[in-house]
């Protein structure tokens, strides 16, 4: 699903005009904000960065032929996050608490000890857990100033807008139906001031 194949499900944005010499500037910007750190250790934080659309393991943008196609810049936003399976984690933690209580001849595990057991188990399990990986594709028409992002959920879109701003130094403005009538401000204003139509017969 995305830019090169499959169905399109996108949120559209307006972007500013790119600056002079944008090829070099944007190559460096994409390199600086490329996806770099794989979650190989004990890290629950989400990691975000740019990758090529061709393969989520390709994170170099030095070859512009891999991401710039005439007026279109095309790349992907990769998000990695390690999430522990809640029920399994809870079950293991309960076993550890029971073992600690037995070993220490105590009926209950003090909360401080439980927190320590929890942290230790979390680190242990995170080491063995692979991250969930998502890639959302981006296509940017640099000539016409629009960007499409292949996801319509609010959280990934917020993440995308922040990363885009950090990378290219410009704020994206989400497409609004009024953009369709932007060349006719009177019509746009009339729509804004229109009230909802009531379709029920008895309301007449």
């Amino acid at each position: 699903m995305g830019v090169l194949k499959g169905g399109l499900s996108v949120r559209r944005y307006r972007a500013s005009e790119p600056p002079e010499g944008f090829r070099d500037l944007y190559t460096a910007a994409l390199e600086d904000n490329a996806f770099r750190d794989a979650l190989t250790e004990v890290n629950k934080e989400q990691r975000v960065g740019w990758v090529q659309v061709h393969n989520l393991l390709d994170n170099s943008f030095l070859d512009t032929n891999r991401w710039l196609y005439n007026q279109y810049a095309v790349f992907g936003m990769r998000i990695d996050k390690k999430v522990l399976p809640g029920k399994l984690f809870g079950a293991h933690l309960e076993k550890r608490c029971q073992a600690w209580a037995k070993e220490n001849n105590r009926e209950r595990v003090p909360s401080k000890v439980k927190a320590e057991l929890k942290d230790a188990l979390e680190m242990e399990m995170l080491l063995k857990t692979l991250p969930s990986v998502a890639v959302h594709e981006v296509a940017w028409n640099l000539n016409e100033g629009w960007v499409i992002f292949h996801n319509q959920s609010e959280v990934p879109n917020d993440t995308f807008r922040k990363l885009f701003h950090r990378t290219f130094g410009m704020a994206l403005i989400p497409h609004d139906p009024l953009d369709f009538v932007a060349s006719e401000p009177e019509l746009a204003n009339a729509l804004v001031s229109s009230g909802a139509s009531d379709l029920r017969m008895e309301s007449r």
């Binding site: 194949k5 169905g7 996108v10 559209r12 319509q152 139906p177 009230g195 909802a196 017969m201």
Partner: protein, 187 residues
């Protein structure tokens, strides 16, 4: 940069009324817009899904799927009960290119758009240029349809004729479009 800034968006009812207008137009045999010499003619009709929400809520409260969902009594009943359209799956044809797309309120976003494949094989660049051309054409078509809706919605005729017609159409139920046309002609 042109157009409206982020905080001056369309009111929430606009997208739902646009979808309703498309549905009504297509069911009453007017599902066709002429974009002039350069734009050509676009035909459209409701495909296989309509969903509704209650006013003031975002979650779906009723969904009709399958063949001709717009012709079901349930779809008309949802409107008659005061629900508004949340998303609609539309088919669009321009020249020999046919698209199907789900339009989602309130932004009129494009979802699950099926683009006509013109280039069967080719390098990555060719495929990309084609798909971007088709996406832009789809966006262009939607823009044209929305402008036609906006002009109708903001005209005097909306209150005097279109809205009463819409109310009668909703109340009469599916398949009543022909009868309503005849009634209108007779009067």
């Amino acid at each position: 940069m042109s157009g409206h800034e982020e905080n001056e968006g369309a009111p929430p009812h606009v997208a739902g009324e646009f979808f309703l207008w498309l549905w009504y137009q297509s069911e009453t045999g007017q599902g066709r817009v002429d974009f002039g010499e350069e734009g050509g003619t676009v035909e459209y009709w409701v495909d296989d899904r309509i969903s509704f929400r209650a006013v003031g809520e975002d979650k779906v409260s009723a969904i009709m799927t399958g063949d001709n969902p717009s012709l079901t009594p349930e779809a008309h009943a949802a409107l008659a009960g005061g629900k508004v359209i949340r998303d609609v799956r539309l088919a669009l044809r321009r020249e020999d290119r046919e698209y199907t797309v789900t339009l989602k309120a309130p932004r009129i976003e494009i979802a699950a758009a099926k683009l006509p494949a013109l280039v069967k094989s080719g390098d990555e660049g060719e495929v990309l240029y084609e798909r971007m051309f088709l996406y832009e054409e789809l966006h262009f078509i939607l823009g044209g349809l929305f402008r036609a809706f906006a002009a109708a919605r903001c005209s005097e005729e909306w209150r005097e004729r279109t809205l009463p017609d819409l109310r009668r159409w909703v109340a009469a139920g599916p398949g009543a479009a022909g009868a309503l046309d005849a009634e209108a002609e007779a009067s």
